[in-house]
């Protein structure tokens, strides 16, 4: 072992495989050259059970003793190497000796494992390629060079021979012969230095950090030293997106240097046809920035650049640039009424798509399925959940905008649900909601059990929960006692039939005849629990119900659910939460599509709802778990190159992996973006942590840049990783079972509440419409969300357009007068001075 000194490779580690027949001059060069740069060099061989072995060189028979055993190198140690070198001479040939010809030699096994780790450079020179011959798949299709004598060997392995002294193919570096060992070493040193920040195992295996935080200075040198882009290696063009903060602009060469969200340097080239625009909201016209492009490339500004990677010069030429704000440090989504305008536009889209211009709206026209442009198909189903989600969106729009038409749509939707989707069970004194109705014929056909594969032939709690989402939000506005009765009866359903009295929590499904969670007809859903059955009550209806009623029984139920979440969802061995359970809370890793997989958005949704729960009944366990998830998720579920959040990933890493594998694709779904934006807004609002705020801004920037459908209205279901809308199959729809108007509207509503009141210290106006019989105690509760105590107060109240004094600023309640007319209450909430 050679002691490191300070240098470009200070703290880095290199392994050299060794055996007899090494080239003395080359070995001596490597030993000195890497040490000179500060790297630590380990020599490894097969020691045959000995503590060390001494080998002889091929030219002057010099001796060299090795004490590192290839058979003792574990994955963590291997991953800790920046490079594994197979040197010249007959070293490789000797190392591939194996007593059992059907087994790979230990050194070959080590090399194969190293090929499975992209972060470890495989560096092979001269006749070193012999060691690859038992594992030709490692180099098949890759560009390599080698000794002239070995060219046909590497072609037989399926590699492409390149007539060069040194060839870099991603993580594989090869050199022609021992005479080129100095070029080989030079290339390795440059690559290792440039790859430094990409190495995920770095922190785990090093004792001393060797990298400083990225700085906002020009990064020309780092960029120049970066490993070649994939297009260069493979010789084809491809388009992609990059997001980053401008660190430098070089007008003479039309180059822009960016720093990505995770601190990497990226360089983009501007062309004569590069267009630029400002992020715009739904309903806004295109805002061109091309004419001012050069003046806008100031340091610190976040932008998206979509462009093309070229193979010839390794450059990335930007074609479309989107600026997320008018100036550096400004974010469009932080304009005071950004989300308010957006919810108004969303409501307008869905109102027109479902009901046209007819006033009042007629829900017999409603269809769950809407095409991209909002037109209907020949699908004649009205799903309870989608009407309920639409109602939620409309009621939320009324809260923020006071648009009476939107409230009317919400109220009529609630009435329609009551008349067509509700099963009043007198025997059990509960209410449940049909999955939906088929309105094809003259008589509607009730769809009692779920029609979806995950829940087929059962009553899933998920659908019952989301049956309440719209009615409860409407109840917040009007206090309609009929809605209150249905809500209470549905909550009784949860407690009587879904509840697990023995082990706590709620089961995910009951059978349709006996209403039992343990009926054999439930199959894989028999006696199971999941995130939905336990955690979805809170965001969908229960927190809103507590806000509207102040009834502490709802707080009790929330507390019980979140205590169970904090008890059973964390996994000591994995940063992602557990999502599915058997009745006794043992984890279920075999269910359907979920297996042992993580839905990124569920992790984020748990984080923001734990923070809301913490505001209702503060507990250290809620806050700690939420913050832990918030800090872990960007590295696991976010796209650090392009921004935005991924969908479903494998929870476990297989050997040699450091990236959680995407289960189906690397697309990004609109609702998962919502979870990230709200998670980081709410975490930032509660903690004041700048890093959380940055994540919130970046997440909101990606969503607003790529999910808003400026042509047809509404938001896209999915976009490709690089932000292009994905418009195939069900994902082209605007009104599928999950889409409707819930997530997009919830985002607008809560982003407004937290952004205005807690993050930017701006007042917030909300609108209410209590019915004459609304709110049995005639108390209107106007707290906009479960906010931390004392941060917000009720500032002023107007009743039917006139100032009104009967309110409690701290409790945020308004004492309603008796009235023969429905009332209109407009309230202004403001951050407290201390907040």
């Amino acid at each position: 072992m050679i002691d490191p000194v300070q240098g470009r490779l200070s703290g880095r580690r290199i392994a050299i495989l060794l055996e007899s027949g090494y080239v003395e001059a080359e070995l001596a060069y490597f030993e000195r050259r890497f040490a000179e740069e500060g790297a630590r060099v380990d020599f490894l061989s097969r020691l045959w059970g000995q503590r060390s072995l001494t080998f002889t060189g091929q030219d002057s028979h010099s001796l060299f003793t090795v004490d590192g055993d290839v058979e003792a190198v574990g994955d963590e140690q291997l991953a800790g190497y920046d490079a594994v070198i197979v040197p010249s001479g007959t070293v490789a040939d000797r190392l591939r000796y194996t007593e059992d010809v059907d087994e790979l030699a230990p050194a070959v096994q080590l090399l194969r494992r190293a090929f499975g780790m992209r972060s470890v450079l495989k560096a092979i020179i001269c006749h070193g390629m012999w060691l690859v011959s038992p594992i030709p798949e490692a180099v098949r299709g890759r560009r390599v060079t080698c000794h002239n004598n070995m060219v046909s060997d590497i072609r037989n392995m399926g590699a492409h021979y390149a007539d060069q002294d040194v060839v870099v193919d991603d993580d594989l570096v090869t050199a022609r012969s021992t005479d080129h060992c100095h070029l080989f070493a030079r290339t390795l040193i440059d690559l290792i230095a440039a790859r430094g920040e990409e190495r995920p195992y770095r922190a785990a295996v090093r004792t001393a950090p060797v990298r400083t935080a990225p700085v906002e200075t020009p990064v020309v040198e780092t960029v120049a030293a970066e490993p070649v882009a994939p297009a260069v290696r493979h010789g084809f063009t491809f388009s992609d997106l990059v997001a980053g903060y401008v660190t430098a602009y070089h007008p003479d060469r039309k180059l822009v240097d960016l720093r990505t969200s995770d601190g990497r340097a990226v360089r983009i080239t501007l062309t004569s046809t590069t267009s630029a625009e400002f992020l715009r909201n739904l309903g806004d016209p295109y805002l061109d920035a091309t004419a001012h492009l050069t003046g806008l490339l100031t340091s610190g500004r976040l932008l998206f650049a979509y462009g093309i990677h070229y193979p010839d010069q390794g450059g990335f030429e930007a074609k479309r640039i989107v600026f997320v704000g008018r100036t550096a440090g400004e974010y469009a989504a932080e304009e005071p009424d950004w989300w308010v305008r957006q919810i108004g536009e969303l409501a307008r889209f869905y109102r027109r798509a479902q009901f046209g211009d007819s006033t009042p709206v007629d829900y017999t026209d409603y269809r769950t399925m809407l095409r991209l442009g909002g037109d209907k198909s020949d699908h004649h189903v009205q799903e309870t959940d989608t009407i309920s989600r639409l109602v939620y969106g409309m009621a939320s729009s009324y809260l923020l905008t006071g648009n009476e038409d939107h409230l009317d749509v919400a109220e009529r939707g609630t009435e329609y649900l009551r008349a067509h989707m509700r099963f009043v069970d007198r025997d059990n004194d509960v209410v449940y909601w049909y999955h939906g109705i088929d309105v094809r014929g003259c008589q509607e056909k009730k769809l009692f059990t779920s029609e979806f594969g995950d829940d087929y032939d059962a009553i899933p709690i998920y659908e019952q929960i989301f049956g309440l989402v719209g009615p409860v939000q409407t109840f917040r506005v009007t206090g309609d006692p009929r809605i209150a009765d249905d809500i209470d009866a549905t909550v009784r359903l949860f407690h009587r039939f879904f509840r697990d009295r023995e082990n706590g929590g709620f089961f995910s499904h009951i059978d349709p005849i006996l209403l039992s969670p343990d009926h054999e007809s439930l199959g894989p859903n028999r006696a199971r629990k999941n995130w939905h059955s336990l955690g979805e009550h809170a965001p969908a209806y229960l927190i809103n119900l507590l806000l509207a009623t102040g009834d502490q029984r709802h707080a009790d139920m929330l507390e019980e659910c979140f205590d169970l979440v904090t008890k059973h969802f964390p996994d000591e061995t994995n940063p992602f939460v557990r999502e599915r359970f058997h009745g006794d809370w043992t984890p279920d890793t075999t269910w359907g599509w979920q297996q042992d997989r993580a839905v990124v958005g569920h992790n984020l949704k748990i984080a923001w709802n734990l923070m809301r729960m913490n505001a209702i009944r503060p507990k250290q366990s809620y806050r700690e778990f939420a913050e832990r998830l918030g800090r872990a998720m960007p590295a696991l579920g976010a796209d650090r190159q392009r921004l935005g959040w991924y969908d479903v990933v494998e929870r476990a890493l297989a050997e040699g992996q450091d990236t959680h594998r995407f289960v189906w694709h690397d697309r990004k779904a609109w609702w998962q973006q919502e979870q990230a934006i709200l998670a980081y807004l709410i975490l930032a609002a509660n903690t004041g942590d700048e890093e959380f705020l940055r994540q919130a801004r970046e997440s909101a920037a990606f969503y607003n840049a790529f999910f808003l459908d400026h042509d047809e209205g509404g938001v896209y279901f999915n976009v490709l990783a690089a932000g292009t809308p994905y418009l195939l199959g069900n994902e082209r729809l605007k009104g599928s079972h999950s889409m409707s108007m819930y997530h997009s509207a919830e985002l607008c509503y809560l982003a407004t509440v937290y952004g205005r009141l807690l993050l930017r210290g701006e007042p917030l106006t909300l609108h209410f419409r209590p019915r004459t019989d609304g709110f049995r105690d005639r108390v209107l509760r106007v707290a906009p969300d479960a906010l931390p105590a004392g941060r917000v107060r009720l500032d002023t109240v107007e009743l039917d357009g006139r100032p009104y004094a009967a309110f409690d600023p701290g409790e945020m309640t308004v004492k309603l007068p008796d009235s023969t007319e429905d009332l209109y209450v407009r309230v202004r909430l403001a951050p407290t001075d201390g907040g």
């Binding site: 049909y434 009730k446 006996l514």
Partner: protein, 104 residues
Amino acid sequence: MSFQAKVRSQDGVVTFRLAGELDSRSAPRFHEMITQAVVPAARKLVLQMDELSYMSSAGLRCLVYAHQRAGNGVDIELVGTQPEVAETIRLTGFDRSLIMRAHR
């Protein structure tokens, strides 16, 4: 009076004659009968209800479930339903999906 059901099938018309009390204990038996009777060939389901004095929500769930699983366009006709039972059905909104007749 305990629950009794007789089923007869002819030309795609499945006729049930129900009597007594269809409560939560007898519902599983009715569920089994009706899901077996509603085969793909069934066009219409007729329930003679005049001797049925009580229908629990569990019994009604069997009926709603069978209707959902029947093919599209399969009508359910209830004949001679007693007022108390009719009210139970009305509360579930299922009356919108049925044909109710006083007599055959």
